[in-house]
């Protein structure tokens, strides 16, 4: 009995050592939620030595890692203190001077392009796969994702052209409308849907009247943190037809707008609320 325990412990130790030896590869800091998700999804989480504050998923892995702050305000010394060999981030990262100085200090700074459509998302995941040395996993993941996305698109047949309103909620006074040129708009485009706010650009503070005037066919609410959006504070929204008919969903902003490995899930989430939606002219999507 005792002997088996000792043998077990010894074996476990051996495995741990072997695993540690195997991952003596790059030390990676990831500054972008979707990239962090990708690294975890590719089974390369053990290479991560730090992440930024936009990286929150999956919490069981991310919560134990040092947080370097916000990807647009990266701390030079803070990143260096993690002794990373590589910083993987997007072109949104900054300040530029800090990135330049990190590169000068010998950190391999990789700024990936923003992914705002399906192709770019899959391409970026394959690139991350190369950067973390797990290209086969990345190919596998993108193949699965592409298949899932095709399923969503098949499901969407005949439902495109619906006008969808997307709200970004960060607390009661932080409710924003997502207009053109946003990740939210890109999600709708990926699904072949239309933004209900054709003449709004970027994220703008939500006006209750504008909500009513938008007359969307469906409503998507992206929450920065769960429970941040309280429908009771937004009677204008709950009076909308789309709300009352149940064509609505509230989900995590990083899931919906991250364009990472959960993109198929994000697309499914939005597609699901469009079931039985009858937009003005269902067949007219020759546009």
């Amino acid at each position: 009995m005792r002997l088996t325990t000792i043998t077990g412990v010894a074996l476990a130790l051996l495995f741990t050592l072997a695993a540690a030896a195997a991952v003596a590869g790059p030390r990676i800091v990831s500054a972008d939620g979707a990239i962090t998700e990708t690294i975890v999804a590719l089974d390369a989480a053990d290479l991560l030595v730090g992440v930024d504050t936009t990286s929150q998923y999956p919490p069981q892995i991310i919560d134990s890692l040092p947080k370097i702050g916000y990807l647009r305000a990266l701390p030079l010394e803070g990143v260096l203190s993690l002794k990373p060999s590589r910083l993987i981030t997007t072109e949104e990262a900054g300040p530029d001077a800090t990135l330049e100085r990190l590169a000068a200090a010998g950190v391999d700074v990789v700024e990936l392009p923003l992914a705002r459509d399906v192709e770019a998302t899959l391409k970026r995941i394959r690139r991350v796969g190369e950067l973390v040395g797990h290209p086969a996993e990345a190919r596998q993941l993108t193949t699965t994702m592409a298949a899932d996305i095709d399923k969503v698109k098949a499901f969407m047949a005949g439902k495109t052209d619906a006008r969808v309103l997307i709200l970004l909620a960060a607390g009661d006074h932080g409710v924003m409308l997502a207009g053109q040129d946003t990740a939210a708009d890109a999600l709708l485009q990926a699904l072949g849907l239309r933004n209900a706010l054709a003449n709004v650009s970027g994220y703008k503070p939500a006006s209750r009247e504008a909500l009513l005037a938008a007359k969307p066919d469906a409503i998507v609410i992206a929450e920065a943190r769960p429970g941040q959006f309280r429908p009771t504070d937004w009677p204008a929204l709950t009076h909308l037809d789309a709300w009352q008919k149940g064509h609505r969903v509230t989900a995590n902003a990083m899931l919906l707008l991250g364009f990472g490995p959960r993109l198929p899930e994000a697309m499914q989430t939005v597609a699901a609320i469009l079931v039985n939606t009858a937009p003005g002219n269902d067949t007219a999507h020759a546009r």
């Binding site: 504050t53 647009r72 010394e77 260096l80 203190s81 002794k83 800090t98 970027g202 994220y203």
Partner: protein, 345 residues
Amino acid sequence: MHAEDVRRLPAPVSYAVLLIILLGAALLALSSGAYPVAIDDLLRMFTGNTPDDPTAELVLWDIRIPRLLLGLLTGAVLAVSGALLQGLFRNPLADPGLIGVSSGAALAAVAVIVLGGSGLAGWSALAGRWALPLAAFIGGSVTTLLAWRIARRQGQTSVALLLLAGIAINAIAGAGTGLLTFYADDNALRSLTFWTMGSLAHARWEDLWLAGPWMLVTLIVAPLLARPLDAFLLGEPVAGHMGYSTDWVKRGAIVLAALGVGAAVAVTGLIGFVGLVIPHLLRQIFGAGHRLLLPACALGGGALLVLADCLARVIVAPAELPIGLMMALLGGPFFLMLLMRNRFV
């Protein structure tokens, strides 16, 4: 120790204490931060040897020393400018923001952040990496000049009018900043939010070469205004009778404050509080005379800002807090406590 006890200390002793605090702050700033630098390595570098960890050398020479120097200069300039303006306005509530320099700099900086890719693309291309600091400096100078021109009547500058013009210009510049904020896209919005919270984190040697000389001018020339400002405390007519050209005193104080604060804000963003509180605090120790007060403000302001910066970069390491936030967070309650204990306003 109560303020009354402190005041009895002879000035040289108080200066010595300030200097010790300053040196302590500087040492702390060099030895603390997210990146661990061993004390041996620190000593080795200062004696001209190569440290064990090459990154440590980079951290020290490229990050901490410029950051320390920028912190010392910025804190000193903000506090000295605060003291100058409090003397000029004969009002303990005056701070460098009052003459429009901060709001003007903020407006210009936010304009570059928001419109740098569109309306101000030409400027951004022309000024390159200096587009933002230069614009902030120009913005701060222009608004101050405007307030000053409005306050000119028959060759004289009315201090009361300057104050009111400053308030109006602050409101207008604030509205302009708000308008730009509204039109800002997501990226610009976040950048400008961080800029308005101030930071020493981006200090580089180039920033020091760019802004340092202007700040030094303010620090070196300000003591020349000490005697006339003392006379000002007795009222403008008295100062005139004592033979000081009151208009030149006003011009001097405004130009020095605009120059120094404009340069500081340009490279660090908005850092409030130092300019208001340090002169107050040190007046308790050194008295109201500007000859002792102005140099003390330079030492005290520098020390306070460097200490706040040390905290800002270790509290949430490896991330960093904006220093403007840190100042208000630390200084606010402390200042309030001082007010309640001494009732000295």
